[in-house]
Symmetry: C3
């Protein structure tokens, strides 16, 4: 069967995938093309053993469902094997340094993927420290700054919905209320930094206290300018939804309060009305879609009617996580 496997280019072989900004537009186009090809092959039941007997290490400091399962099933579909490593069962807590990890796992396998997202200032720098010493590609399965596998799947989903050109489409990236726990800022930051590069006008909405990190904000503005798209910020959720093609409403935490979750939670209760419901979806375009990286706090972030309704694309979005992660692995490992 491997004789029929279409050949992949090796232009990004060995490259880390830590933030989408590290990749050129052309390289990301390559990822999207390969994702789409791998999706078609999977639906058709065609084998895609690009990485026979190779190993990818999945290192989770935090819990996961979609990410772990998409990587592990994806590795299998490529003929490879993924190690699911939770922080509790490894020696990371016994003094394993990122340097040791990078060097040693590079000698055992073919890629290292890390999720480390709950503490602002820690996750990304940890991954970069591993990558500095690794001789195999290092992947960011979500950090404090970016969630590049999620936003790649999001971009793929938007293209499937609206066609290849997204120019002139408007995405509302908006905070929403959630009582459960302080969620990372990586998804909204990943969206505002990636989407302007692919033609989307971005409007970011949040209550005054929920500002994103300075650096991604500056990068988003610069990208919008460079690509002739717009980037606006508002503290009015309705305004953000008005005329949007995509409503991406989800909760995140306050950078300074990640260590004081009760305080942030208390503050957030003032904004319980930041909920994506049918009224707000009506402010958007008729053809608008609702997106969320999941898991969603049902009836807090978003009503069941929206999440399970005809405008929701959360399941195709989740599905595309599988094919985008396979594309990154197949092209870089």
């Amino acid at each position: 069967m491997p004789t029929r496997l279409p050949k992949l280019p090796n232009t990004v072989r060995g490259k880390d995938y830590l933030e989408t900004r590290d990749w050129t537009d052309q390289e990301i186009e390559r990822l999207l093309k390969t994702s789409s090809d791998l999706k078609k092959a999977f639906k058709a039941g065609r084998p895609t053993r690009y990485l026979p007997d190779k190993t990818v290490f999945l290192f989770f400091f935090d819990k996961s469902t979609r990410t772990r399962n998409s990587f592990e099933a994806g590795a299998t579909q490529l003929g490879a094997h993924a190690h699911f490593i939770s922080a509790e069962t490894s020696q990371a807590a016994h003094g394993e340094s990122p340097k040791d990890m990078g060097i040693i796992l590079s000698s055992y396998g073919h890629a290292i993927a890390i999720r480390h997202d709950l503490v602002p200032g820690e996750g990304n720098s940890y991954m970069r420290a591993v990558a500095e010493h690794a001789t195999v590609p290092v992947y960011n399965m979500q950090c404090d700054i970016d969630h590049p596998f999620q936003t790649l799947a999001d971009l793929m989903t938007m293209r499937e919905e609206f066609g290849r050109s997204l120019r002139g489409r408007r995405i509302a990236v908006t905070w929403a209320y959630a009582p459960s726990y302080a969620k990372p800022m990586s998804v909204p930051q990943g969206l505002i930094t990636l989407m302007p590069r692919f033609g989307l006008d971005v409007v970011l909405a949040h209550p005054p206290e929920w500002t994103l990190m300075k650096e991604p904000m500056a990068f988003a503005q610069a990208q919008a300018k460079a690509h002739g798209t717009s980037f606006e910020v508002t503290d009015d959720m309705d305004e953000a939804c008005r005329g949007a093609d995509i409503v991406y409403a989800k909760s995140w935490g306050i950078e300074e309060l990640f260590h004081k979750p009760e305080e942030a939670l208390k503050l957030s209760t003032r904004y319980k009305n930041w909920l994506c419901d049918e009224r707000r979806m009506k402010l958007a375009k008729k053809t608008a879609i609702y997106m969320h990286c999941l898991p969603a706090d049902r009836n807090h972030e978003v009503t069941d009617a929206v999440l399970d309704g005809p405008q929701s694309r959360v399941f195709p979005e989740a599905e595309n996580r599988l094919h985008t992660c396979k594309a990154v692995m197949a092209l870089t490992m």
Copy 2:
């Protein structure tokens, strides 16, 4: 090598395996035949790659040894890969709904298996909720109501012992004392609902407080009637063992007291004499065998002399877990 792989029928392709009652006698015969073929192939070292590069998700709300390892090794023997997912390391606790799980995992892989057995009223309904939304087969790796992989392996073991026809054979399904923790009711319920369909006369024994759920009891009676077999209930362990061909003695909990384990435990100390020992095995037929799904509370549920003795079939029974789970996967995935 795949050229020589005997073809499997696709009559149950895509079918869930949640309770044995959902499967016709003929379908279960098919499972037993395939289990037996797969066992022979394994012993002979013949490859059985029926599911190359496919993925089965194993979702455990509760601990496991046999079930996890039989599924994971079984998947490997079929060329597939199993994800071992413990509740602690996934986002099930972060608001992942059964609907989300069913839809998303269906898009990533090829089957979803779930163990959720410790709370009466919860496990089976959770699985059925996942199955409602899944487009791939969903398997019950033990719930509050049934343990269909265990009882299928049990039936296979009985046939290996007594031959294809079990008509006229008598099985004693009896409660036994265990000080460790409240064990699910799924094994005795699974036995009394399945065995009458395959010719066995069933006698169920337990102290008055340890009644099984109403619905499985009614189903067992109806099956016995329909198949011309008998189903008796007694509170005398000796009586149950007398003349039995199979003594299946194990502990289970009290439906109303799963949330008050100390109370149930206290009550159970009155019945410490509900122990399967050599005296009781002598009440059974000379050719009788002892069965238990394991792990057994040694010298509480059963004496070492019986468990390790010549009448014990607990190890072949455990071994058959491997081949029956492969049969279900190979036929439905």
Copy 3:
């Protein structure tokens, strides 16, 4: 591709690998040769599918990074699959006996590997109990007495450094201070029992309280005598390092105090100067190397300057864990 796979001898097929002393010198030479061949094949990207669709169970009572990942990636490279089983997620705590485990896992797969190292008197005897009932090879992934996969990788690394003959080379196996936790005694014990058999002169250094177990000490002495090598013991770290070719400085616990870690820790603070630093490395030969099984307590057991310096071989040593464990699996499974 399997047509080109060089054939392996079957002289140790089915053999347990529990302590290096159970294997003859010639058998260990066979392991080293196969390790080296598998390393070359891996570096060259040649497939080594010696164990297609086979299963090895990895049972961890204690945490691990290198061991788990080298076995799991190694199994993949051999075409097999490894189950990572942590004590928390299995029923070992629910009354699963070593006998049940040995018999049942033997019927599901092809080898059983166990880590059980933190309690003197427990780990090795547990493994031997499993092995007594298993019909497949049982591997010691570190116990209270030996760490035979580590020392095999160490021996391989020494040969890569100094050539095939190690006769006349001197290894200092020395205790070092670590504030973190009581580490097993298996590595120093494994070194002193194996290295004299392969021509090395061994000097063991530790503070008076940190004696190793009696039995491995006696075995080491006997081996040195039988092989015409020397085995000395000192309580002076400088003396041990003087003239050494290899400095293997690491911490371990006090046999009698594993259950009273605070007491041992308190005692150890008297010996904070048992640190491997550049001054001590200068006492050794100019061509001397530093070794450690990792993870190291940086700047307690060893300074960054030594661990990251030109004499350190800790990363090749870790890398060789992959190829030695593959050799054991490929030859015995």
